[in-house]
Symmetry: C2
Subunit: 309 residues, 2 copies
């Protein structure tokens, strides 16, 4: 299996939109810089939390161009390059590889349901063959709650065997620990990232590479502490703390909630905007969320100071 360039805490970066409803490159660049300063090990831009599928392929490529032009190191980036069509997935992946990104995150063709493994294998194979680059590193994106089209353990194994230099990892957003554990057991050396920090400590103990988690947008320092100290006696207590923060936030619709938190702590109300079909939190939800977070002692600034202790 090929070396893969990611480990630790990766953030599926929120995408800010302007008041006119277009991707806001300026805010996006600033936010990516801030996440790296906070200690993020990588930026999985254009994931589900990024509302990537609410953007056209052209919008995504333009944002990536601007991010690279602004000096964000491409090796730290794992852009989502998934699409229902193999041609669009290949175009997104080719564009990202040309920028020298560390890897790409790739969804299955999610319009389809009940596809068998032969068809899904052929889809990924066709994308890989069209990109035709030894620099391509694919992280499979298993997220059945959104796709209703999963990647079976057998399919993952077939792809690893057929493309050992290319198919190097997987983000498991199934929310099913048994699936994550089975991947870790079956495919040692394959970089498995649970899609939530709730499974970070359990994952690390079984060989996970880290995690790629929505909540990273607001809590890199807390999550990184678990990653750094997972072999110390305090690991379980640190994990309990980040799990509590996660569960507090995910009591609300995740993306609007995270954007509301960013808007609040970065003192930038326009950050709360989402693109349809998502809707922002109501005023009442926003107040309840911030109040819930205050009760557990969470603030962005404090989490950062705490990490430095």
């Amino acid at each position: 299996m090929a070396a893969q360039p990611f480990a630790g805490v990766l953030v599926p970066v929120l995408t800010p939109f302007t008041r006119a409803g277009d991707p806001d490159a300026g805010r996006f660049i600033a936010f990516c810089r801030w996440l790296l300063e906070e200690g993020a090990d990588g930026l999985a831009i254009f994931g589900t939390t990024s509302e990537a599928n609410s953007m056209s392929a052209g919008e995504r490529m333009e944002l990536l161009d601007k991010l690279i032009a602004a000096g964000i190191p491409p090796a730290k980036l794992m852009p989502g390059a998934g699409a229902c069509s193999l041609t669009e997935a290949a175009a997104l992946a080719r564009h990202a590889v040309a920028h020298g990104v560390g890897g790409v995150l790739m969804l299955p063709p999610f319009y389809y349901k009940g596809m068998d493994d032969d068809g899904l294998f052929a889809f990924f194979a066709a994308v890989i063959e069209r990109v035709a680059s030894p620099a391509l590193r694919i992280f499979l994106y298993h997220i059945p709650p959104q796709t209703v089209l999963g990647l079976s353990l057998d399919l993952v194994g077939r792809l690893i065997r057929a493309y050992p230099e290319t198919v190097v990892g997987l983000k498991d957003s199934s929310g099913d620990w048994n699936n994550t554990a089975a991947l870790l057991e079956r495919y040692p050396g394959f970089a498995v990232f649970p899609g939530s920090e709730v499974f970070l400590l359990d994952g690390l103990r079984k060989g996970a590479a880290g995690c790629i988690t929505a909540t990273g947008n607001v809590n890199v320092p807390g999550i990184r502490k678990v990653y750094e100290r997972w072999q110390t006696p305090e690991a379980d207590a640190l994990q309990a703390q980040i799990t509590l923060i996660r569960k507090t936030i995910q009591a609300y619709p995740m993306v609007p909630a995270l954007k509301r938190i960013v808007a609040h702590f970065h003192r930038d109300p326009d950050w709360a905007a989402v693109r349809p079909p998502m809707v922002p939190l109501t005023q009442a939800q926003s107040q309840a969320l911030l109040s819930d977070l205050a009760k557990i002692g969470f603030t962005l600034g404090e989490s950062r100071r705490a990490a430095a202790e």
Copy 2:
């Protein structure tokens, strides 16, 4: 409610692919011409049966350009313009409207699940506002088996009230007759097309505009007979015949099966190609399908002659 230009039997046209796996414009144009000669009232190109979501936006627009350049009347076309992002949906719709198409078929943003009506309303509203053309006619595409994101009766009503000149119809591929019947009862004058000819006669009796059906790719004459003679005493027998053909075909994976039938009767084996993640029928499936069809007396040529009787 605005006049809408479609009635009768519309075909979600199969998309042929070359041996290299690219859309085959020549075969596509010839097949569209043949369907119109067979009596199709409209061509709903780029639907689910067309593997539209297996093509990039650019591939779809190029095929439409070539189809129009070849002289297919744009008023007969209802291209699918759905996409998960409002920007891509708007770009596809704008391009189609500029060609003078009769209307466009529009999916909800199907990556998302459990979205509430406010968010879905905002999505369609944003697309309509971005296209900003009085010539835009949208047919909503309700197909929960693929999208796992339906369009509620209330949402349809909200869209009709807000955009009476634009939101003029709906393709109901829920497979749920109760939903089709409820749409017809609640929104008289709104053009409802069941997504299967199985519901054609029942639909016409309640005011449906016709049907948009996959099987139209191989049985326009039979289905049109029901449309033409639905008020005659032979209507039920004609319906039973087309239902039998439909059920025989849908015992197999629908798109590969239809392509296999076209390949066989048009004597063009390359027509059987599908794009991943779909897989073609196996040799055994192909033989069983053709044998099942022979048993019920179905052939493309005969169906055409029978229609002329």
